[in-house]
């Protein structure tokens, strides 16, 4: 479903190469995890896939169901079915969370040539999803992420993911800043979306998130490349021994 081939990326403003040939394929229905030390290029990969500015692709490709993502605007990628759960969700004062969600859902439907969801129908859908994520009605009324706790922000990301029903979900360090209970809630939300067709790319530093969202495949990323790929046991290896052994082994 998601196919990344030999992806090379540098910063737009400086001569700094971040991704040095990433190859990665996420099949439909599978959960892939990317782990790696700080500065290995994990977050850059998620940003480049979703179309954030400031990066220059110098080589390679990234396709979703055969369509080249790298040629699309961020909103086109979203309409094509890509979703990025942000590591640091952005606060948008003055825009109600519900308004934001409905604008996003309807914009995507419009882009795909589907009819818009009515306000009443939307409200029903949101409330049902919000309940599953323990998001109260007050949080839906408040401006997007403003005054939300770290856990609330991450739950709000998962709520957006659930409402937008993407084909391919990228979670960028969704576990950062979460306590155990909040992490479980978020993981439950993600697991509820695992339907055998949707693909997931879970970026994380720690194995603990992967205890809750069980990956099919684990990749280790270092210095802008995937250096090792394996099953869930690879994540446990990292947890026990750190990255040093793997790095040494590869070199």
């Amino acid at each position: 479903m998601l196919e990344i081939k030999n992806l090379h990326v540098k910063l737009e403003e400086e001569d700094k190469v971040i991704l040095k040939g990433v190859d990665l394929t996420v099949e439909a229905g599978k959960v892939h995890a990317i782990m790696g030390p700080n500065g290995s290029g994990k977050s850059t990969l998620s940003y480049v896939l979703s179309g954030r500015g400031g990066y220059e692709v110098t080589g390679g490709s990234a396709t979703l169901d055969g369509a080249e993502l790298l040629d699309m605007e961020p909103e086109e990628r979203a309409a094509a079915g890509l979703f990025l759960a942000f590591q640091y969700p952005v606060e948008i004062p003055g825009v109600g969370n519900m308004t934001f969600l409905r604008t996003a859902v309807n914009a995507q439907r419009k882009a795909r040539g589907e009819p818009e969801v009515s306000a009443a129908e939307f409200l029903k859908l949101v409330r049902a999803q919000a309940k599953l994520l323990n998001i109260d009605a007050e949080m839906l009324k408040r401006p997007v992420n403003v005054g939300f706790s770290g856990g609330e922000k991450k739950r709000n990301e998962i709520l957006q993911m659930a409402m937008l029903e993407p084909r391919m979900c990228i979670l960028d360090e969704t576990d950062s800043g979460l306590d155990v209970d909040a992490m479980r809630l978020v993981a439950d939300g993600v697991n509820a979306l695992r339907d055998g067709k949707r693909g997931f790319l879970v970026i994380t530093h720690y194995q603990r998130l992967l205890d809750h969202i069980k990956p099919d495949v684990v990749h280790i990323m270092a210095d802008g490349r995937i250096i090792k790929t394996g099953g869930p046991e690879l994540a446990r290896e990292v947890e026990e021994n750190g990255y040093a052994d793997i790095l040494a082994e590869v070199q």
Binding site: A78, F86, P93, G94, A107, A111
Partner: protein
């Protein structure tokens, strides 16, 4: 070669030429106040760019003997306050339109027209007094001109709680119109009124609204200035705010070649509240856009709170100006004064000129001010787009988000909604 004329002569000539083009009203209860204003204007003279508070805004179009014509906007939008139950008072190019207006009687209010008030009126001894007081320490000559030359306006005395807002509707129908209106609103102690204003008024429009709030009185003012691109307007609000009274004013400015909104708020009592806010959106793509908020808040009482919240969105070479001052007089202890002015510059051609001032003569006060200008936040824009919101729609959402703090100053939810709808429509037309 003849020596250049001294500046004072030029100012006097400018003033004389403007006055010569006017047909000054005669007689009536305002006669002494008008004579006084005329004398003050002749002594003071009309403003020029050399005056400190006109440095950022060229007053020439406002002081010229004749007004420049302004095309009348053919507008498909419904009136902004259509959904609000209100008492309508309509002026067309500055002339009262009885047929279009509602009956002027409403419980808790006495409304009369300035042009029709006879020789004796409750506003006698009040007309022009707050304007005159507001000339110190900064002169506001166009308000003095207004007091001398206003042809009409409303005199509103509020004696109780009024069931619905009063709206002053200013229609612009003639390209050649040049109108001067002067209103006086007296709110008796405990009384409460909401005054709405909407419309461009005229090709050139000069208004003064004097508002006298008694103890525990409350005044809510929401104004939407007309969108006619070429119109020029100078407006003035002079308020005297007594103990425990509440004054709240909000203005939405969209389009207009020149708009100068002056507010002089004088808090004379204790435990009073004065909020003034403005949201401005200007796009100078086809017609220049220049909008200026000049605000002067004086704290003379103790335990009073004042807030100034001004937000401007500027595009394609538009100019925004903010000159805001908080003056805390000796003895005005426990003052809580706040001022924020911010511009969102949608390109590199637009500019925001801000002059925040604090002058404090009491030692136990809390006063803060801030002024910023910047572009749309890239991270927020990406966040919205990553959720599928198209670029133009995402920008519009962030513009509304930016203006949110100013709109939040409107207490009535229905009115705030009407204002937001106007802004959304303006933004949608520019996608």
């Amino acid at each position: 070669m003849a020596a250049p004329k001294p500046r004072s002569d030029l100012r006097a000539e400018l003033t004389a030429a403007r006055l010569a083009a006017l047909d000054l009203p005669q007689g009536g209860f305002t006669a002494p106040a008008r004579a006084d204003a005329l004398a003050r204007l002749q002594a003071m003279g009309l403003p020029t760019r050399r005056d400190e508070y006109w440095k950022y805004t060229d007053p020439t179009a406002l002081t010229a003997a004749d007004a420049s014509p302004a095309a009348v906007l053919v507008d498909a939008e419904a009136p902004v306050f259509e959904a609000i139950d209100r008492l309508k008072i309509v002026f067309v190019d500055g002339v009262f339109d009885a047929a279009a207006s509602d009956d002027l009687s409403l419980e808790g209010l006495e409304i009369s027209r300035l042009a029709e008030a006879g020789d004796i009126h409750w506003a006698q001894g009040l007309y022009g007094t707050l304007e005159a007081k507001g000339q110190i320490p900064v002169a506001r000559p166009l308000a003095v001109l207004n007091s001398a030359a206003a042809t009409d306006g409303v005199l509103i005395r509020v004696t109780g709680r009024v069931s619905k807002p009063v709206e002053l509707i200013y229609r612009h129908m003639s390209e050649a119109s040049d109108a001067i209106l002067h209103h006086f609103v007296k709110i008796e102690p405990q009384a409460d009124v909401t005054v709405l204003e909407s419309g461009p008024g005229a090709s050139r429009f000069n208004t003064v609204m004097e508002v006298d709030l008694g103890a525990h009185a409350s005044f809510h003012h929401i104004r939407v200035q007309g969108r006619d691109h070429h119109r020029r307007a100078v407006t003035h609000v002079f308020a005297r705010i007594a103990s425990e009274a509440t004054f709240k004013s909000f203005t939405l400015t969209m389009n207009g070649a020149l708009t100068r909104n002056e507010a002089v708020l004088d808090i004379v009592g204790d435990h009073a509240t004065a909020h003034i806010a403005g949201a401005t959106v200007g796009d100078a793509k086809t017609v220049p856009f220049h909008q200026d908020d000049t605000v002067f808040v004086t704290h003379a009482g103790t335990h009073c709170e004042s807030r100034q919240v001004f937000k401007k969105v500027l595009k394609n070479g538009a100019t925004g100006v903010f000159q805001g001052k908080i003056l805390v007089k000796p003895g005005a202890q426990k003052t809580d004064g706040y001022q924020i002015s911010q511009a969102l510059l949608l390109d590199g051609d637009s500019q925001f000129l801000a002059k925040p001032e604090l002058e404090i003569y009491a030692d136990d006060v809390k006063c803060s001010h801030g002024s910023t200008s910047g572009a749309i936040d890239d991270t927020a824009l990406f966040y919205l787009r990553s959720r599928g919101v198209p670029l133009a729609e995402a920008q519009a959402l962030l513009v509304l988000s930016f203006l949110g703090d100013a709109i939040a100053e409107i207490e009535d939810a229905d009115i705030a909604e009407a204002i937001t709808a106007r802004l959304e429509a303006w933004l949608a037309r520019r996608r």
